[in-house]
Protein backbone atom coordinates (compact mmCIF):
# COMPACT_ATOMS: atom_id res chain seq x y z
CA UNK A 1 0.00 0.00 0.00
CA UNK A 2 1.49 3.32 -0.94
CA UNK A 3 1.64 5.91 1.79
CA UNK A 4 -0.84 8.18 0.04
CA UNK A 5 -3.60 5.61 -0.08
CA UNK A 6 -3.45 4.60 3.56
CA UNK A 7 -6.59 5.40 5.52
CA UNK A 8 -6.39 6.30 9.18
CA UNK A 9 -8.79 7.36 11.90
CA UNK A 10 -8.68 10.99 13.01
CA UNK A 11 -7.60 10.13 16.55
CA UNK A 12 -4.89 7.78 15.30
CA UNK A 13 -3.65 10.41 12.87
CA UNK A 14 -3.22 12.71 15.84
CA UNK A 15 -1.48 9.95 17.72
CA UNK A 16 0.87 9.41 14.78
CA UNK A 17 1.65 13.14 14.64
CA UNK A 18 2.63 13.11 18.30
CA UNK A 19 4.76 9.98 17.91
CA UNK A 20 6.58 11.36 14.91
CA UNK A 21 7.26 14.85 16.17
CA UNK A 22 8.26 13.69 19.64
CA UNK A 23 10.70 11.32 17.97
CA UNK A 24 12.04 14.07 15.71
CA UNK A 25 12.26 16.83 18.31
CA UNK A 26 13.29 16.09 21.91
CA UNK A 27 11.99 19.47 23.05
CA UNK A 28 8.38 18.42 22.41
CA UNK A 29 6.48 17.00 25.37
CA UNK A 30 2.86 16.23 26.18
CA UNK A 31 1.35 17.39 29.45
CA UNK A 32 -2.16 17.39 30.79
CA UNK A 33 -4.82 15.64 32.67
CA UNK A 34 -5.29 12.00 31.73
CA UNK A 35 -2.55 11.56 29.13
CA UNK A 36 -2.10 8.07 30.58
CA UNK A 37 -5.79 7.33 30.33
CA UNK A 38 -7.79 6.46 27.19
CA UNK A 39 -10.87 7.52 29.12
CA UNK A 40 -9.63 11.11 28.85
CA UNK A 41 -7.86 11.38 25.53
CA UNK A 42 -9.11 8.35 23.57
CA UNK A 43 -6.34 6.64 21.65
CA UNK A 44 -4.59 9.89 20.74
CA UNK A 45 -1.85 9.23 23.32
CA UNK A 46 -1.53 5.47 22.84
CA UNK A 47 2.04 4.26 23.11
CA UNK A 48 3.56 7.65 23.90
CA UNK A 49 4.26 6.95 27.54
CA UNK A 50 5.98 3.64 26.78
CA UNK A 51 8.06 5.19 24.03
CA UNK A 52 9.02 8.57 25.52
CA UNK A 53 8.72 7.98 29.26
CA UNK A 54 7.21 9.93 32.12
CA UNK A 55 9.50 12.90 31.63
CA UNK A 56 7.87 13.74 28.30
CA UNK A 57 4.39 12.35 28.80
CA UNK A 58 3.24 14.00 31.97
CA UNK A 59 -0.08 13.16 33.54
CA UNK A 60 -1.12 15.90 35.92
CA UNK A 61 -3.42 16.57 38.84
CA UNK A 62 -6.48 18.69 38.05
CA UNK A 63 -4.71 22.05 38.24
CA UNK A 64 -5.46 23.58 34.87
CA UNK A 65 -4.18 27.03 35.71
CA UNK A 66 -0.77 25.96 37.04
CA UNK A 67 -0.29 23.13 34.56
CA UNK A 68 -1.08 25.34 31.59
CA UNK A 69 1.16 28.03 33.05
CA UNK A 70 3.88 25.42 33.42
CA UNK A 71 3.52 24.70 29.71
CA UNK A 72 3.96 28.40 28.98
CA UNK A 73 7.00 28.63 31.26
CA UNK A 74 8.58 25.53 29.74
CA UNK A 75 8.08 27.05 26.29
CA UNK A 76 9.84 30.22 27.44
CA UNK A 77 12.65 28.01 28.69
CA UNK A 78 13.15 26.46 25.25
CA UNK A 79 10.73 23.52 25.15
CA UNK A 80 7.75 22.89 22.86
CA UNK A 81 4.98 21.71 25.13
CA UNK A 82 1.61 20.37 24.07
CA UNK A 83 -0.79 21.06 26.92
CA UNK A 84 -3.90 18.95 26.55
CA UNK A 85 -7.29 19.74 28.05
CA UNK A 86 -9.43 16.65 27.49
CA UNK A 87 -12.56 18.70 27.97
CA UNK A 88 -12.08 22.22 26.82
CA UNK A 89 -14.60 23.54 29.35
CA UNK A 90 -11.82 23.13 31.93
CA UNK A 91 -9.58 25.44 29.92
CA UNK A 92 -11.55 28.31 31.38
CA UNK A 93 -9.49 27.75 34.53
CA UNK A 94 -6.41 28.40 32.42
CA UNK A 95 -7.38 31.68 30.76
CA UNK A 96 -4.70 33.60 32.61
CA UNK A 97 -1.71 31.62 31.31
CA UNK A 98 -3.24 31.33 27.84
CA UNK A 99 -4.53 34.87 27.36
CA UNK A 100 -2.75 37.17 29.78
CA UNK A 101 0.58 35.42 29.56
CA UNK A 102 1.17 33.31 26.43
CA UNK A 103 -0.78 35.44 23.96
CA UNK A 104 0.78 38.71 25.11
CA UNK A 105 4.29 37.61 26.01
CA UNK A 106 6.01 38.05 22.65
CA UNK A 107 4.45 41.46 22.08
CA UNK A 108 5.00 42.81 25.55
CA UNK A 109 8.65 41.91 25.47
CA UNK A 110 9.11 43.57 22.11
CA UNK A 111 9.72 40.38 20.15
CA UNK A 112 12.51 39.15 22.39
CA UNK A 113 10.96 35.86 23.51
CA UNK A 114 8.15 33.93 21.88
CA UNK A 115 6.02 31.16 23.33
CA UNK A 116 6.01 28.01 21.19
CA UNK A 117 3.25 26.18 23.02
CA UNK A 118 0.20 24.25 21.84
CA UNK A 119 -2.95 24.40 23.93
CA UNK A 120 -4.92 21.38 22.81
CA UNK A 121 -8.58 21.49 23.79
CA UNK A 122 -10.98 18.69 23.03
CA UNK A 123 -14.65 19.43 22.45
CA UNK A 124 -16.46 16.57 24.05
CA UNK A 125 -20.15 17.10 23.55
CA UNK A 126 -23.40 15.29 22.95
CA UNK A 127 -24.47 12.23 24.88
CA UNK A 128 -26.52 14.32 27.32
CA UNK A 129 -23.31 15.71 28.88
CA UNK A 130 -24.89 19.13 29.44
CA UNK A 131 -23.48 22.62 29.63
CA UNK A 132 -20.07 22.11 31.23
CA UNK A 133 -18.95 19.14 29.17
CA UNK A 134 -19.93 20.40 25.75
CA UNK A 135 -18.64 23.88 25.10
CA UNK A 136 -16.86 24.97 21.94
CA UNK A 137 -15.03 28.16 22.93
CA UNK A 138 -12.86 28.71 19.87
CA UNK A 139 -14.36 32.16 19.30
CA UNK A 140 -13.14 33.31 22.72
CA UNK A 141 -9.59 32.37 21.82
CA UNK A 142 -9.88 33.76 18.30
CA UNK A 143 -10.69 37.15 19.80
CA UNK A 144 -7.28 37.35 21.44
CA UNK A 145 -4.34 38.98 19.62
CA UNK A 146 -1.32 36.71 19.71
CA UNK A 147 -3.20 33.42 19.55
CA UNK A 148 -3.69 31.24 16.50
CA UNK A 149 -6.62 28.84 16.52
CA UNK A 150 -6.89 25.71 14.40
CA UNK A 151 -9.79 23.25 14.16
CA UNK A 152 -9.04 20.31 11.89
CA UNK A 153 -12.02 18.54 10.33
CA UNK A 154 -10.24 15.58 8.76
CA UNK A 155 -7.71 13.00 9.84
CA UNK A 156 -5.26 14.42 7.28
CA UNK A 157 -5.55 17.87 8.82
CA UNK A 158 -5.57 16.52 12.37
CA UNK A 159 -2.06 15.23 11.81
CA UNK A 160 -0.75 18.05 9.63
CA UNK A 161 -2.14 20.86 11.76
CA UNK A 162 -0.79 19.28 14.96
CA UNK A 163 2.66 19.19 13.39
CA UNK A 164 2.33 22.81 12.23
CA UNK A 165 0.99 23.94 15.60
CA UNK A 166 3.93 22.38 17.41
CA UNK A 167 6.46 23.83 14.97
CA UNK A 168 4.90 27.30 15.09
CA UNK A 169 6.91 29.70 17.27
CA UNK A 170 3.68 31.24 18.60
CA UNK A 171 1.02 29.91 20.95
CA UNK A 172 -1.52 27.89 18.99
CA UNK A 173 -4.86 26.71 20.30
CA UNK A 174 -5.56 23.35 18.67
CA UNK A 175 -9.20 22.34 18.99
CA UNK A 176 -10.58 18.99 17.98
CA UNK A 177 -13.92 17.34 18.54
CA UNK A 178 -14.52 13.85 19.92
CA UNK A 179 -17.27 13.49 17.32
CA UNK A 180 -14.51 13.45 14.70
CA UNK A 181 -12.28 10.83 16.30
CA UNK A 182 -13.63 7.88 14.36
CA UNK A 183 -13.80 9.56 10.96
CA UNK A 184 -11.26 8.32 8.44
CA UNK A 185 -9.17 9.96 5.77
CA UNK A 186 -6.10 9.37 3.65
CA UNK A 187 -3.16 10.14 5.88
CA UNK A 188 0.41 9.99 4.58
CA UNK A 189 2.72 7.93 6.74
CA UNK A 190 5.47 10.50 6.69
CA UNK A 191 5.54 13.66 8.79
CA UNK A 192 3.95 16.67 7.02
CA UNK A 193 2.48 20.07 7.78
CA UNK A 194 -0.84 21.69 6.96
CA UNK A 195 -0.36 25.46 6.84
CA UNK A 196 -2.11 27.42 9.58
CA UNK A 197 -4.45 30.08 8.16
CA UNK A 198 -5.18 28.28 4.89
CA UNK A 199 -8.70 27.05 4.20
CA UNK A 200 -9.53 24.16 1.87
CA UNK A 201 -12.26 23.52 -0.67
CA UNK A 202 -13.85 20.23 0.40
CA UNK A 203 -16.29 20.13 -2.46
CA UNK A 204 -16.24 22.35 -5.50
CA UNK A 205 -19.60 23.82 -6.56
CA UNK A 206 -21.05 26.78 -8.37
CA UNK A 207 -24.35 27.69 -6.68
CA UNK A 208 -23.61 28.42 -3.03
CA UNK A 209 -20.59 28.54 -0.73
CA UNK A 210 -21.05 26.73 2.57
CA UNK A 211 -18.38 27.89 4.98
CA UNK A 212 -17.72 25.45 7.78
CA UNK A 213 -15.15 24.36 10.31
CA UNK A 214 -14.40 21.25 12.35
CA UNK A 215 -17.35 18.87 12.70
CA UNK A 216 -19.63 21.17 10.69
CA UNK A 217 -17.64 20.27 7.56
CA UNK A 218 -18.97 16.73 7.74
CA UNK A 219 -22.53 17.95 8.13
CA UNK A 220 -21.95 20.29 5.20
CA UNK A 221 -20.83 17.36 3.07
CA UNK A 222 -23.98 15.42 3.91
CA UNK A 223 -26.05 18.49 3.18
CA UNK A 224 -24.25 19.13 -0.11
CA UNK A 225 -25.10 15.61 -1.19
CA UNK A 226 -28.78 16.18 -0.36
CA UNK A 227 -28.71 19.52 -2.18
CA UNK A 228 -27.13 17.93 -5.24
CA UNK A 229 -30.11 15.59 -5.43
CA UNK A 230 -32.20 18.73 -5.87
CA UNK A 231 -29.93 20.19 -8.49
CA UNK A 232 -28.06 22.57 -6.18
CA UNK A 233 -24.31 22.49 -6.55
CA UNK A 234 -22.76 23.59 -3.25
CA UNK A 235 -19.14 24.47 -2.66
CA UNK A 236 -17.75 23.71 0.81
CA UNK A 237 -14.98 25.81 2.27
CA UNK A 238 -13.38 24.25 5.34
CA UNK A 239 -11.77 27.11 7.22
CA UNK A 240 -9.39 24.77 9.11
CA UNK A 241 -8.10 27.78 11.07
CA UNK A 242 -10.45 30.03 13.03
CA UNK A 243 -7.53 32.44 13.24
CA UNK A 244 -6.03 33.62 11.06
CA UNK A 245 -8.94 33.31 8.64
CA UNK A 246 -8.23 32.63 4.98
CA UNK A 247 -10.03 35.67 3.57
CA UNK A 248 -8.73 35.14 0.05
CA UNK A 249 -10.30 31.76 -0.41
CA UNK A 250 -13.59 33.03 1.01
CA UNK A 251 -13.67 35.93 -1.45
CA UNK A 252 -12.70 33.70 -4.33
CA UNK A 253 -15.40 31.15 -3.60
CA UNK A 254 -18.15 33.72 -3.10
CA UNK A 255 -17.11 35.52 -6.26
CA UNK A 256 -17.87 32.24 -8.01
CA UNK A 257 -21.14 31.23 -6.28
CA UNK A 258 -22.65 34.57 -5.21
CA UNK A 259 -24.26 32.94 -2.17
CA UNK A 260 -22.96 32.23 1.31
CA UNK A 261 -24.13 30.04 4.17
CA UNK A 262 -21.92 30.20 7.24
CA UNK A 263 -21.84 27.33 9.74
CA UNK A 264 -20.28 27.28 13.18
CA UNK A 265 -19.99 24.67 15.91
CA UNK A 266 -20.06 27.43 18.54
CA UNK A 267 -22.59 30.02 19.62
CA UNK A 268 -24.04 32.68 17.38
CA UNK A 269 -23.50 36.04 19.08
CA UNK A 270 -20.01 37.46 18.55
CA UNK A 271 -18.95 34.05 17.33
CA UNK A 272 -16.88 32.79 14.41
CA UNK A 273 -19.90 32.96 12.10
CA UNK A 274 -20.31 36.65 12.92
CA UNK A 275 -16.70 37.29 12.00
CA UNK A 276 -17.01 35.39 8.73
CA UNK A 277 -20.15 37.34 7.84
CA UNK A 278 -18.33 40.60 8.51
CA UNK A 279 -15.45 39.58 6.30
CA UNK A 280 -17.86 38.70 3.51
CA UNK A 281 -19.78 41.95 3.95
CA UNK A 282 -16.57 43.97 3.90
CA UNK A 283 -14.77 42.21 1.10
CA UNK A 284 -17.26 40.27 -1.04
CA UNK A 285 -20.42 42.36 -0.79
CA UNK A 286 -20.74 43.00 -4.51
CA UNK A 287 -20.40 39.30 -5.29
CA UNK A 288 -23.47 38.47 -3.24
CA UNK A 289 -26.75 37.83 -5.03
CA UNK A 290 -28.72 37.26 -1.83
CA UNK A 291 -28.32 37.96 1.89
CA UNK A 292 -25.95 35.74 3.87
CA UNK A 293 -27.37 33.23 6.32
CA UNK A 294 -25.67 31.59 9.22
CA UNK A 295 -26.29 28.53 11.30
CA UNK A 296 -24.59 28.41 14.65
CA UNK A 297 -25.50 27.12 18.07
CA UNK A 298 -28.32 29.13 19.63
CA UNK A 299 -27.34 31.49 22.46
CA UNK A 300 -28.17 28.87 25.02
CA UNK A 301 -26.07 26.59 27.22
CA UNK A 302 -25.82 23.01 25.99
CA UNK A 303 -28.77 21.03 27.32
CA UNK A 304 -28.60 17.50 28.68
CA UNK A 305 -31.77 15.88 27.38
CA UNK A 306 -31.49 14.24 23.97
CA UNK A 307 -34.70 15.87 22.84
CA UNK A 308 -33.18 19.29 23.47
CA UNK A 309 -29.78 18.31 22.06
CA UNK A 310 -31.51 17.58 18.78
CA UNK A 311 -32.85 21.12 18.71
CA UNK A 312 -29.55 22.60 19.85
CA UNK A 313 -26.99 21.10 17.48
CA UNK A 314 -26.56 21.63 13.76
CA UNK A 315 -27.75 18.93 11.39
CA UNK A 316 -27.51 18.27 7.67
CA UNK A 317 -31.25 18.80 7.47
CA UNK A 318 -31.01 22.32 8.94
CA UNK A 319 -28.18 23.13 6.54
CA UNK A 320 -30.15 21.94 3.51
CA UNK A 321 -33.11 24.04 4.56
CA UNK A 322 -31.01 27.17 5.09
CA UNK A 323 -29.25 26.75 1.74
CA UNK A 324 -32.58 26.38 -0.03
CA UNK A 325 -33.90 29.52 1.67
CA UNK A 326 -30.89 31.49 0.46
CA UNK A 327 -31.39 30.30 -3.08
CA UNK A 328 -35.13 30.98 -3.26
Amino acid sequence: MSSNSRKLQYSLALNEALHQIMEADPSVFLIGQGVKSPWYVGNTATGLLGRFGEKRVIDTPVSENAVTGAGVGAALAGMKPVVVHPRMDFMLYAFDPIINQAANWYYMNGGKLSVPVVFWGIINRGGEQAAQHSQAIHALFSHIPGLKVVMPATAYDAKGLMISAIKDPNPVVYIDDRWLYETEDHVPEEIYEVPIGKAAIRRAGKDITIIAISYACHLAEQAAYELSQNGIDAEIVDLRSAKPIDKDLLKESIAKTGHALVLDVGWRTCGLSAEICSIIAESAFYSLKAPIKRLALPDCPAPASRSLEKAYYLSAEKIVQAAQEILT
Partner: protein, 326 residues
Protein backbone atom coordinates in the same frame (compact mmCIF):
# COMPACT_ATOMS: atom_id res chain seq x y z
CA UNK B 1 30.51 36.33 58.10
CA UNK B 2 34.11 36.23 56.97
CA UNK B 3 33.34 33.09 54.99
CA UNK B 4 32.43 35.31 52.05
CA UNK B 5 35.00 36.79 49.73
CA UNK B 6 35.44 40.52 49.57
CA UNK B 7 34.58 40.40 45.88
CA UNK B 8 31.21 38.81 46.57
CA UNK B 9 30.37 41.22 49.39
CA UNK B 10 31.32 44.27 47.38
CA UNK B 11 29.38 42.96 44.40
CA UNK B 12 26.27 42.49 46.53
CA UNK B 13 26.61 46.02 47.77
CA UNK B 14 27.15 47.47 44.31
CA UNK B 15 24.12 45.69 42.93
CA UNK B 16 21.85 46.86 45.73
CA UNK B 17 23.08 50.39 45.33
CA UNK B 18 22.66 50.26 41.55
CA UNK B 19 19.06 49.22 41.99
CA UNK B 20 18.41 51.89 44.60
CA UNK B 21 19.96 54.71 42.61
CA UNK B 22 18.22 53.55 39.48
CA UNK B 23 14.86 53.53 41.25
CA UNK B 24 15.45 56.92 42.84
CA UNK B 25 16.49 58.41 39.49
CA UNK B 26 12.97 57.66 38.27
CA UNK B 27 11.21 59.63 41.01
CA UNK B 28 11.47 63.08 39.44
CA UNK B 29 10.46 62.05 35.93
CA UNK B 30 7.49 60.18 37.38
CA UNK B 31 6.37 63.23 39.34
CA UNK B 32 6.91 65.55 36.37
CA UNK B 33 4.91 63.25 34.12
CA UNK B 34 7.81 62.55 31.81
CA UNK B 35 7.37 58.89 32.72
CA UNK B 36 3.72 57.98 32.22
CA UNK B 37 3.94 54.23 32.48
CA UNK B 38 2.98 52.90 35.93
CA UNK B 39 6.16 52.29 37.93
CA UNK B 40 6.33 50.14 41.04
CA UNK B 41 9.58 51.10 42.68
CA UNK B 42 11.39 48.45 44.68
CA UNK B 43 13.41 50.79 46.91
CA UNK B 44 13.82 49.01 50.23
CA UNK B 45 13.45 45.53 48.77
CA UNK B 46 16.80 45.30 46.93
CA UNK B 47 18.37 42.72 49.21
CA UNK B 48 15.97 40.01 48.08
CA UNK B 49 16.61 40.32 44.35
CA UNK B 50 20.35 40.68 44.90
CA UNK B 51 20.70 37.92 47.51
CA UNK B 52 18.69 35.43 45.47
CA UNK B 53 20.32 36.16 42.12
CA UNK B 54 23.79 35.95 43.67
CA UNK B 55 23.01 32.32 44.47
CA UNK B 56 22.04 31.62 40.85
CA UNK B 57 24.03 31.01 37.72
CA UNK B 58 23.65 32.86 34.46
CA UNK B 59 21.71 30.03 32.84
CA UNK B 60 19.20 29.83 35.70
CA UNK B 61 15.78 31.33 35.16
CA UNK B 62 13.85 34.00 37.00
CA UNK B 63 10.35 35.42 36.60
CA UNK B 64 9.16 38.64 38.13
CA UNK B 65 6.16 40.75 38.94
CA UNK B 66 4.99 44.33 38.49
CA UNK B 67 7.81 45.33 40.86
CA UNK B 68 10.76 43.77 39.08
CA UNK B 69 13.34 46.43 38.25
CA UNK B 70 15.50 44.89 40.97
CA UNK B 71 15.09 41.34 39.68
CA UNK B 72 16.04 42.41 36.16
CA UNK B 73 19.17 44.24 37.29
CA UNK B 74 20.25 41.66 39.84
CA UNK B 75 20.11 38.88 37.25
CA UNK B 76 22.38 40.92 35.01
CA UNK B 77 20.06 43.15 32.97
CA UNK B 78 21.49 46.40 31.65
CA UNK B 79 20.62 49.64 33.43
CA UNK B 80 20.21 51.55 30.17
CA UNK B 81 17.78 48.96 28.80
CA UNK B 82 15.74 49.10 31.99
CA UNK B 83 15.50 52.87 32.15
CA UNK B 84 14.73 53.13 28.44
CA UNK B 85 11.92 50.62 28.91
CA UNK B 86 10.45 52.60 31.80
CA UNK B 87 10.54 55.59 29.45
CA UNK B 88 8.79 53.29 26.90
CA UNK B 89 11.46 53.82 24.27
CA UNK B 90 12.47 51.55 21.43
CA UNK B 91 15.87 51.07 23.08
CA UNK B 92 14.25 49.47 26.12
CA UNK B 93 14.64 45.81 26.93
CA UNK B 94 11.11 45.24 25.62
CA UNK B 95 11.33 47.86 22.87
CA UNK B 96 8.81 50.07 24.63
CA UNK B 97 6.04 47.51 24.19
CA UNK B 98 6.05 46.36 27.79
CA UNK B 99 7.06 49.26 29.99
CA UNK B 100 8.10 48.99 33.60
CA UNK B 101 6.03 45.88 34.33
CA UNK B 102 7.31 43.74 31.44
CA UNK B 103 11.04 43.27 31.63
CA UNK B 104 12.88 40.56 29.78
CA UNK B 105 16.38 39.48 28.89
CA UNK B 106 16.47 35.85 27.86
CA UNK B 107 20.27 35.92 27.50
CA UNK B 108 20.65 36.23 31.25
CA UNK B 109 17.70 34.03 32.17
CA UNK B 110 15.27 36.84 32.96
CA UNK B 111 12.34 35.29 31.12
CA UNK B 112 9.88 38.01 31.95
CA UNK B 113 7.75 39.81 34.48
CA UNK B 114 4.03 40.49 34.66
CA UNK B 115 1.59 42.34 36.91
CA UNK B 116 -1.12 39.69 37.03
CA UNK B 117 -0.70 38.78 40.67
CA UNK B 118 0.78 35.26 40.93
CA UNK B 119 0.60 34.97 37.14
CA UNK B 120 4.27 34.11 36.66
CA UNK B 121 4.54 31.55 39.46
CA UNK B 122 3.31 28.75 37.23
CA UNK B 123 5.60 29.98 34.46
CA UNK B 124 8.64 29.62 36.71
CA UNK B 125 7.34 26.19 37.66
CA UNK B 126 7.26 25.34 33.96
CA UNK B 127 10.80 26.62 33.40
CA UNK B 128 11.84 24.27 36.20
CA UNK B 129 9.94 21.49 34.46
CA UNK B 130 11.91 22.21 31.27
CA UNK B 131 15.10 21.92 33.29
CA UNK B 132 13.99 18.60 34.77
CA UNK B 133 13.02 17.16 31.37
CA UNK B 134 16.39 18.13 29.89
CA UNK B 135 18.30 17.25 33.03
CA UNK B 136 20.39 20.40 32.69
CA UNK B 137 20.29 21.33 36.40
CA UNK B 138 19.02 24.81 35.85
CA UNK B 139 17.07 26.35 38.69
CA UNK B 140 14.02 28.56 38.23
CA UNK B 141 12.93 31.27 40.62
CA UNK B 142 9.44 32.70 40.99
CA UNK B 143 9.49 36.09 42.67
CA UNK B 144 6.09 37.16 43.95
CA UNK B 145 4.58 39.35 46.62
CA UNK B 146 2.50 38.59 49.68
CA UNK B 147 -0.65 39.32 47.67
CA UNK B 148 0.05 36.19 45.63
CA UNK B 149 -0.56 34.08 48.72
CA UNK B 150 -4.24 34.80 48.12
CA UNK B 151 -4.25 33.45 44.57
CA UNK B 152 -5.19 29.86 43.82
CA UNK B 153 -2.52 29.33 41.19
CA UNK B 154 0.19 29.58 43.84
CA UNK B 155 -1.26 26.56 45.59
CA UNK B 156 -1.65 24.61 42.36
CA UNK B 157 1.95 25.43 41.50
CA UNK B 158 3.26 24.40 44.91
CA UNK B 159 1.48 21.08 44.60
CA UNK B 160 2.57 20.46 41.03
CA UNK B 161 6.18 21.39 41.79
CA UNK B 162 6.22 19.19 44.88
CA UNK B 163 4.66 16.17 43.16
CA UNK B 164 7.22 16.41 40.36
CA UNK B 165 10.20 17.44 42.54
CA UNK B 166 10.86 20.47 40.35
CA UNK B 167 13.93 22.70 40.76
CA UNK B 168 11.97 25.85 41.49
CA UNK B 169 12.45 28.32 44.32
CA UNK B 170 9.34 30.18 45.38
CA UNK B 171 10.50 33.54 46.71
CA UNK B 172 7.79 35.48 48.47
CA UNK B 173 8.64 39.13 49.00
CA UNK B 174 6.38 39.89 51.91
CA UNK B 175 6.23 43.67 52.20
CA UNK B 176 3.13 43.43 54.38
CA UNK B 177 0.79 45.15 51.92
CA UNK B 178 -1.17 43.92 48.96
CA UNK B 179 -1.38 47.30 47.24
CA UNK B 180 -3.30 49.25 49.94
CA UNK B 181 -4.41 46.29 52.01
CA UNK B 182 -2.46 45.29 55.11
CA UNK B 183 -1.63 41.64 55.41
CA UNK B 184 -3.73 41.23 58.54
CA UNK B 185 -6.81 41.99 56.43
CA UNK B 186 -5.75 39.50 53.73
CA UNK B 187 -4.77 36.46 55.71
CA UNK B 188 -5.68 34.67 58.94
CA UNK B 189 -2.00 34.75 59.90
CA UNK B 190 1.03 36.63 58.65
CA UNK B 191 3.36 33.68 58.28
CA UNK B 192 3.18 33.03 54.59
CA UNK B 193 6.02 30.48 54.63
CA UNK B 194 3.65 28.05 56.33
CA UNK B 195 1.55 27.63 53.20
CA UNK B 196 4.30 25.51 51.63
CA UNK B 197 4.54 23.05 54.52
CA UNK B 198 1.41 20.98 53.73
CA UNK B 199 2.97 20.33 50.32
CA UNK B 200 6.09 18.91 52.01
CA UNK B 201 8.13 21.77 50.60
CA UNK B 202 11.01 22.97 52.80
CA UNK B 203 10.15 26.52 53.73
CA UNK B 204 11.57 29.28 55.82
CA UNK B 205 10.96 32.86 56.78
CA UNK B 206 13.95 35.17 56.78
CA UNK B 207 14.86 38.82 57.11
CA UNK B 208 14.52 40.01 53.54
CA UNK B 209 16.42 43.17 54.32
CA UNK B 210 19.55 41.22 55.20
CA UNK B 211 21.24 40.46 51.91
CA UNK B 212 23.47 37.79 53.39
CA UNK B 213 20.56 36.00 55.03
CA UNK B 214 18.80 36.02 51.68
CA UNK B 215 21.91 34.81 49.89
CA UNK B 216 22.36 31.96 52.37
CA UNK B 217 18.77 30.81 52.11
CA UNK B 218 18.80 31.06 48.32
CA UNK B 219 22.05 29.12 48.17
CA UNK B 220 20.62 26.34 50.28
CA UNK B 221 17.53 26.28 48.05
CA UNK B 222 19.52 26.34 44.81
CA UNK B 223 21.76 23.50 45.98
CA UNK B 224 18.70 21.47 46.97
CA UNK B 225 17.14 22.13 43.56
CA UNK B 226 20.28 21.09 41.71
CA UNK B 227 20.45 17.92 43.80
CA UNK B 228 16.92 17.01 42.82
CA UNK B 229 15.38 17.80 46.20
CA UNK B 230 13.52 20.95 45.18
CA UNK B 231 11.23 22.78 45.29
CA UNK B 232 11.96 25.27 48.03
CA UNK B 233 10.01 28.17 49.53
CA UNK B 234 11.51 31.32 51.06
CA UNK B 235 9.46 34.07 52.64
CA UNK B 236 11.47 37.29 52.81
CA UNK B 237 10.16 39.92 55.17
CA UNK B 238 10.64 43.37 53.74
CA UNK B 239 9.02 46.74 53.25
CA UNK B 240 8.70 49.12 50.37
CA UNK B 241 10.08 52.57 51.03
CA UNK B 242 7.97 54.05 48.23
CA UNK B 243 4.30 53.84 47.33
CA UNK B 244 2.66 50.83 45.77
CA UNK B 245 2.84 52.57 42.43
CA UNK B 246 4.78 55.76 41.93
CA UNK B 247 7.24 57.26 44.36
CA UNK B 248 4.88 57.88 47.24
CA UNK B 249 1.16 58.26 47.04
CA UNK B 250 1.25 60.96 49.71
CA UNK B 251 3.74 63.03 47.75
CA UNK B 252 1.35 62.96 44.84
CA UNK B 253 -1.30 64.44 47.08
CA UNK B 254 -3.78 61.62 46.82
CA UNK B 255 -3.10 60.28 50.30
CA UNK B 256 -3.95 56.76 49.37
CA UNK B 257 -0.93 55.36 51.14
CA UNK B 258 -2.52 54.31 54.37
CA UNK B 259 0.60 52.94 56.03
CA UNK B 260 1.17 54.43 59.48
CA UNK B 261 4.01 56.95 59.69
CA UNK B 262 5.54 55.16 62.68
CA UNK B 263 5.62 51.92 60.74
CA UNK B 264 7.32 53.59 57.80
CA UNK B 265 9.97 55.19 60.00
CA UNK B 266 10.56 51.93 61.84
CA UNK B 267 11.26 50.17 58.57
CA UNK B 268 13.48 52.98 57.34
CA UNK B 269 15.79 52.01 60.18
CA UNK B 270 15.97 48.55 58.62
CA UNK B 271 16.82 49.81 55.14
CA UNK B 272 18.94 47.00 53.68
CA UNK B 273 21.54 49.24 52.09
CA UNK B 274 22.75 51.32 55.07
CA UNK B 275 22.51 48.13 57.09
CA UNK B 276 24.91 46.32 54.77
CA UNK B 277 27.10 49.40 54.50
CA UNK B 278 27.54 49.39 58.27
CA UNK B 279 28.44 45.73 58.19
CA UNK B 280 31.01 46.25 55.45
CA UNK B 281 32.58 49.17 57.28
CA UNK B 282 32.53 47.58 60.72
CA UNK B 283 34.10 44.38 59.51
CA UNK B 284 36.78 46.36 57.70
CA UNK B 285 35.88 45.02 54.29
CA UNK B 286 35.69 48.44 52.71
CA UNK B 287 36.52 51.97 53.76
CA UNK B 288 34.50 55.17 53.62
CA UNK B 289 36.59 56.18 50.63
CA UNK B 290 35.76 52.94 48.85
CA UNK B 291 32.08 53.60 49.49
CA UNK B 292 32.31 57.09 48.08
CA UNK B 293 34.07 55.84 45.02
CA UNK B 294 31.51 53.09 44.46
CA UNK B 295 28.63 55.55 44.83
CA UNK B 296 30.21 58.01 42.42
CA UNK B 297 30.83 55.30 39.87
CA UNK B 298 27.29 53.95 40.04
CA UNK B 299 25.72 57.41 39.98
CA UNK B 300 27.66 58.15 36.84
CA UNK B 301 26.46 54.94 35.20
CA UNK B 302 22.84 55.69 36.12
CA UNK B 303 23.13 59.28 34.86
CA UNK B 304 24.51 58.06 31.59
CA UNK B 305 21.72 55.49 31.20
CA UNK B 306 19.10 58.02 32.21
CA UNK B 307 20.20 60.61 29.67
CA UNK B 308 20.57 58.00 26.94
CA UNK B 309 17.03 56.80 27.65
CA UNK B 310 15.64 60.33 27.66
CA UNK B 311 17.13 61.01 24.27
CA UNK B 312 16.29 57.69 22.66
CA UNK B 313 13.41 57.30 20.25
CA UNK B 314 9.87 56.19 20.86
CA UNK B 315 8.71 53.20 18.84
CA UNK B 316 7.37 54.22 15.44
CA UNK B 317 3.60 54.31 14.94
CA UNK B 318 3.86 52.22 11.80
CA UNK B 319 5.45 49.48 13.91
CA UNK B 320 2.40 49.10 16.13
CA UNK B 321 1.61 45.61 14.86
CA UNK B 322 5.15 44.27 15.01
CA UNK B 323 5.67 41.40 17.46
CA UNK B 324 2.07 40.22 17.70
CA UNK B 325 3.31 37.02 16.10
CA UNK B 326 6.81 35.79 15.48
Amino acid sequence: MSEYSKDLLVELYKQMLTIRLCEESLVDPILSGEIQCPVHLCSGEEAIAVGVCAALQKQDYIFGTHRSHGHFLAKGGKVEELIAEVFCRDAGCSRGRGGSMHLVDAEIGMLGSAPIVAGTISLATGAALASKIRGDKRVAVAFFGDGSSNEGVLFESLNFAAVNRLPVIFVCENNLYSTHMPIRDCRPNEEIYRIALPFDIPSKRIDGNDVLAVYEAANEAAVACRNGTGPFFIECLTYRLRGHVGPDDNIQGTHTDIRPKEEISKWKQKDPIPKFERYLLESGIISQDDLKEIKAEISKEIDRAYHAAQQSLFPKEQELMNYVFK
